[in-house]
Symmetry: C2
Subunit: 509 residues, 2 copies
């Protein structure tokens, strides 16, 4: 037989790129006419996965066919994600071909059928994910399999390593490099900006990167974006840390563990994140950032992400074992996860709490200040800056002296500026129907309501919580206030909370 040798590039056909101005988030989409010559000669059908090449750049996109004048028969229309990834200009010629079969999908299938993922298999999967070769169907299958058949220690180490190695990595000419993380699930637990400010003031190097929200109404990156720029590249991040000792930037901007962003999008849609995936997500970013000492906050409560002491202990153990494999010292702290921290839930509302604590304003949420000092103290002890048991007091001194706020503002200005948070235009207080004592707060449904209100995409939307466990309230007293940027969302979230009157449970006095 005569055939091209295996490994040679597939046959290519050329079309003119046409920008459709179509916002699809991460999804690369391509549109061609069903009657175009390339469609006929290559035999593409609707929903085909196709390889698009522009010079040295290559992506895999989902192809759709149109019978109207959306594109001419010499054109290929592209979504913004595809346009950006291929670095195109209008009319630019790109080639379209069948992609090579995705061999790494066999590894996903093996995992689904109960086999363990090896290093090579995990690497192949994560490499394909970072290159954008997985469709949503493939990504969802991988994420689900890692939850249904939980990753063991070796699989988690392999996943962590693959996620580190498929992104950028940085090292520092000093030590220790401090970092912190919260496993999430607790609305409003926005200690990071306060911890970074305290530790950086005390001379620690703390190059903090944060995720956007996974399944919550706000991540630290979403919250800090209200106050300053968080989308810094690696060079700018290093400049800020060199100047100020610390930073709070979005992890996606510096391309640490870019696989995480692709996986997070799916985990968010499914409201799933498994222990192994969680550990790999947390540690891959820390390792890529060059961290040597990391404190991890694990809130535990019936409606937090981690619901029992046993689950927390299992997570602690896995975090420590995986970190150890990479030479990173981890201390994880189990904290109270029975109710939100602070008052705000949603980017701007949480940013307001952070500033109130840093400025020691009257009425600043004391629980947020206390928890931030607990974490900062643990980090100061872990790196040897404070004696055992003396870290929290040292952190409180820095916070209440105003030094932490000065440092916070300096870091913000180094990152690009300082802005005061604003609140959404539309609001509605939710009132206690009868007098009572607050006996439970459902973190999950409160977070769900804040997401329905628009968080994290709508920065100023969310919930301001007015009560805490144990408080006594009168009939008609506001329990919390809903904030939304659009009236449609306000009506929608009001429907939701009306259908869920027990988000905050009151017991008759």
């Amino acid at each position: 037989m005569t055939a091209k040798p295996p490994g040679s590039p597939p046959l290519a056909n050329v079309l003119n790129a046409h920008r459709l101005g179509l916002d699809t988030q991460h999804e690369a989409m391509a549109f061609i006419r069903a009657d175009s010559p390339v469609c006929r000669s290559e035999g593409f059908s609707a929903h085909s996965r196709v390889q698009l090449i522009n010079g040295s750049r290559s992506i895999i996109a989902t192809l759709y066919q149109t019978s109207t004048d959306l594109v001419s028969d010499q054109q290929i229309g592209l979504s913004e994600a595809a346009w950006r990834l291929l670095g195109l200009t209008e009319g630019c010629q790109i080639s379209i071909s069948h992609p090579a079969p995705l061999e790494s999908l066999k590894k996903v299938r093996s995992k689904v059928f109960g086999q363990r993922l090896g290093e090579a298999g995990t690497n192949a999967i994560i490499t394909d994910i970072v290159a954008g070769r997985y469709s949503d169907i493939h990504l969802s299958s991988f994420v689900t399999a890692c939850s249904a058949l939980p990753l063991d220690l070796n699989e988690t180490i392999a996943l962590t390593r693959a996620m580190v190695e498929t992104g950028s990595q940085t090292t520092w000419d000093r030590a220790p490099i401090a970092d912190k993380h919260c496993v999430g699930g607790l609305p409003g637990n926005r200690t990071t900006p306060i911890v970074v400010a305290i530790c950086a003031f005390l001379g620690l190097t703390i190059p903090k990167t944060s995720s956007r929200a996974i399944t919550s109404p706000a991540g630290t990156a979403d919250t800090m974006e209200v106050i300053t720029d968080v989308d810094l590249d690696l060079a700018n991040m290093r400049r800020v840390v060199d100047q100020q000792g610390g930073c709070f930037v979005w992890g996606g901007g510096v391309q640490f563990s870019p696989a995480d962003d692709a996986l997070i999008r799916i985990e968010r849609a499914l409201n799933l994140d498994s222990e192994g995936a969680l550990v790999a997500s947390v540690l891959s970013k820390k390792i890529a950032a060059g961290a040597t000492h990391v404190v991890i906050d694990i809130p535990v409560g019936p409606t937090a992400k981690v619901r029992s002491q046993a689950a927390a202990a299992s997570l602690q153990s896995l975090l420590e074992k995986v970190a150890n494999e990479f030479g990173v010292k981890v201390q994880s702290i189990i904290t109270d996860g029975t109710q939100p921290v602070g008052r705000g839930i949603g980017p701007s509302l949480e940013a307001r709490d952070v500033l109130a604590v840093l400025r020691s304003e009257p009425g600043a949420p004391a629980d947020l200040a206390d928890r931030a000092c607990l974490i900062a103290g643990a980090l100061l002890e872990l790196v040897g800056k404070a004696d055992a048991g003396a870290g929290k007091a040292m952190a409180m001194d820095v916070l209440y002296s105003g030094a932490a706020y000065t440092k916070f503002e300096a870091i913000c200005r180094a990152q690009g500026g300082f802005r005061e948070p604003e609140l959404a235009e539309h609001s509605r207080p939710i009132l206690a129907p009868a007098p009572g004592r607050v006996t439970s707060i459902d973190n999950r449904r409160l977070a769900q309501a804040a997401k329905l209100a628009g968080g994290p995409d709508d920065k100023t939307a969310g919930i301001d919580l007015h009560v805490r466990l144990g408080d006594s309230v009168q009939a008609g007293q506001p329990l919390y206030t809903l904030y939304t940027e659009a009236p449609g969302e306000l009506a929608y979230v009001i429907d939701y909370v009306a259908a869920n009157p027990d988000i905050i449970e009151l017991t008759k006095p």
Copy 2:
């Protein structure tokens, strides 16, 4: 608080429907301008899931935003799937709103976390799937969870029942109602048309519906579509069966178990189908069609779908237990799955084999004739038409007398006509590199090659196999011939088979 009562319809905004002529297969997509008033007032972001309502019809679609003149700010552009589901005409006003949270996703998550699916949960999931409320991410998670944590007997019964009840169902005023099925995985195993023709000639009622291919290059519906119309509605299907005793129609056209079509699309993309999902898929269609007696062919071989006798026995047992729950008599037969049946792999090539057998042409594939008579014989015995052990001989008499072909043609004409299969324009023989004896044939990679050639979407594409296990071949003798409708695909599949020279293994003489 003042709020709309729970359960009242969400707030609606109205836009003019614009047909984009966009072929997305099953996917409902909507496009609006990022600056349109409805987008701002409802706070929709890219990739939002939205509810679209036209009169009494309602669907959930994925929303994309555009900054160009694809649509005006009073318009909503729609994919063909969305257009069809909503029953629209150009300019028709439709309302767009936030969909209610998908409560059934909690059941999917419970399954992922290891809990068993109950009847109510399964029903909720399947109802939402049939209504098009699940995105690809959700569908993929459900399919993967059912593979990773296999469905037990009760879950499989619940899934089967939910799939039956969410589609149309039919009953007959006579008994028995015969049916057959092959669990697939064996290229070219196209016994159905022959079995139906034999049994219908002998007076059995056999209202056969078939799937399109799941992970294979051709399903029976794909193959029969080459010869006749298979997309009949239920009334037409009943008319054909009333006239001729049997039919071969596409299950999707009669809307038996429509959930199956949504799941099959995902299973195909993942190349996954689990035992429980397989049993529910097979039996839900039979039960909805009113079958009382069903023979199931389970080919077993190292590269067939079922790879071991143990797996086949487990599948047999689950099939029989689930069928028993619905009062259906099932007999499953384990057959040889070590190599393809017949010669052709791909819709037209398999149709050609079917006709050769029915016409007793010289050189017709004897293995296909033999297997069809085995299945038909088992069915004749199961319904009591033939004595035990006498069924196969009775079937052979009907086949070789030409009566089966006459019946086959009559059924085709009743379904809408009779067409001779054609072969694809582009072909290439793959030659033996050296003399040898054929010692193994890899069904999976052969099927993969036939899919890369274009099957099942390209009807005339596929593979014609020229050798069988045990054959001796000379160097340069054709092992199989590739057929494709487009030159691009021919080059592509040649690349694949060149990289996989051991699809057919030759041992030196």
